[in-house]
Symmetry: C2
Subunit: 305 residues, 2 copies
Amino acid sequence: MSELAWLAVDWGTTNVRVWAMGATDQVLDARTSADGMARLGGDRDAFARAFQELIAGWSGPRPLPAVVCGMAGGREGWQEAPYAPVGRPLDALADLAVRVEIADRGLDVRILPGVSQDDPPDVMRGEETKLLGLGPVSGLVVMPGTHPKWVRLEQGRLRRFHTAMTGEVFAAIASHTMLRHTLTGDGFDLDAFAAAILDAKAAPERLLTRAFGLRASDVLGHVEPAVARGRLSGWLTGLEIEDCLHRLDADKFVLLVGGRDQTARYRRAFAHYGITAEQHDADALTIRGLVSARSRLFPELPAAG
Amino acid sequence: MSELAWLAVDWGTTNVRVWAMGATDQVLDARTSADGMARLGGDRDAFARAFQELIAGWSGPRPLPAVVCGMAGGREGWQEAPYAPVGRPLDALADLAVRVEIADRGLDVRILPGVSQDDPPDVMRGEETKLLGLGPVSGLVVMPGTHPKWVRLEQGRLRRFHTAMTGEVFAAIASHTMLRHTLTGDGFDLDAFAAAILDAKAAPERLLTRAFGLRASDVLGHVEPAVARGRLSGWLTGLEIEDCLHRLDADKFVLLVGGRDQTARYRRAFAHYGITAEQHDADALTIRGLVSARSRLFPELPAAG
């Protein structure tokens, strides 16, 4: 790979993803490992070793630039990149990047900051780079996931955001309560999900009795696991939508960032609200955001090695 | 213990409790073991063995009557005692008790049924016996716990009830999400809890963003674990109260059944609603309920052995 010019890196909680980038910011190759923050957290040397292993065999200029977003910049990460406050233009985040102190002189690693908000207290690490990848747009951005984020953008500035624990609470209930006997497998009934969105809209406070009722229904008769999963997910996601949509001033059009299955669910939910969504692929946005940061951190790429 | 006349048994999910009872229904002795339904579930012989071990050394008449309530009557229990439908007088539940087929001719074990409700689907096993212990009263009964139950009683008839997953969802979030780093220890700030009850009353749909915000606050500064636990518990309990109180037609007076710490939290929450609560000890009610069932199942106790 003689044309390798720099490395784009998304270091998440469970995975780390690296893209080999060319001199014109084209993707040459990609690799993934499970050495996420959750596995390495707190051990800086482990981050360095994991990174070396991940890029083994790729040769480029020395020092090889690497631009990193995500949890690697957390307090328990590779090296802390303190949060930037909300309100700044996203394309200026790169100015707050931290240079990793690393023994290997062949690498020049910069970690991008996350973004924090004081009121209400909230944080993100990694999503800001996807938002940067959207360019200087205005609108309401919805990013489904373990911790879905709802973001109000104004001409490329992050004005306000809210994070919900939807995905993680679903997983905790599905695996660590008596509902595990009802929520088996990984089927997902989209109609049951859509109906549950309406339940939550009508009476969000019923979440905890609905959850028990799901188990009771299964004990008294039988509930298909895929239907049960759809319902619980809909009751939780419905809370999130009722909450975030109104706090960020509902639009009839949102930018939806994520994978196909997740975004299909949100589309279905949004239909109840008369909202249309424009879909954006999360990885593509991450790469675009890292390219934007690269152009600021390393405006002149070194000649290929 | 020459005067042992019968055994009162509460077989729960995590524990089994047995009381040695005299001929005038006085408590002579009590024992507890961790052989709850969760440990033995699905193995009928294990229930019989666990029971023999628990009462080892106690001698009484043969056959010795035993009246059991709780999960021992579940589908995965000692022997299934099908649910009775809501609406029946509680003191008639004993008529639906199931006699356990047991090899030991020295025991005569009867398991009381639980109560089920079709709309909304709900079930209880064990709480109905506490309610029976209240006598032929009317009113709104609140029973805190892993699965808190809210019950509308009318002259000793169970008219309607709702179960929330409050306690179990709290435990799942506290132990199996990233909030475990914030919710350490077992401290509990009652003021934080009370404030969170008001949060939930004002905007129940914010549960999932509040939960994430708790972690964010801790990352950005520091939140005392006891305060964090109080808040999360208050947000969940607040949902439960908003939900159940209105569905069962709020009274300004409730009967509160449970241990001291739990009921203290509910008292504090009820103060926001102008509700006063009369406290009842859960174990005392269970014994009274089992005594009531005993008088129907074994109207004449055998002479002491």
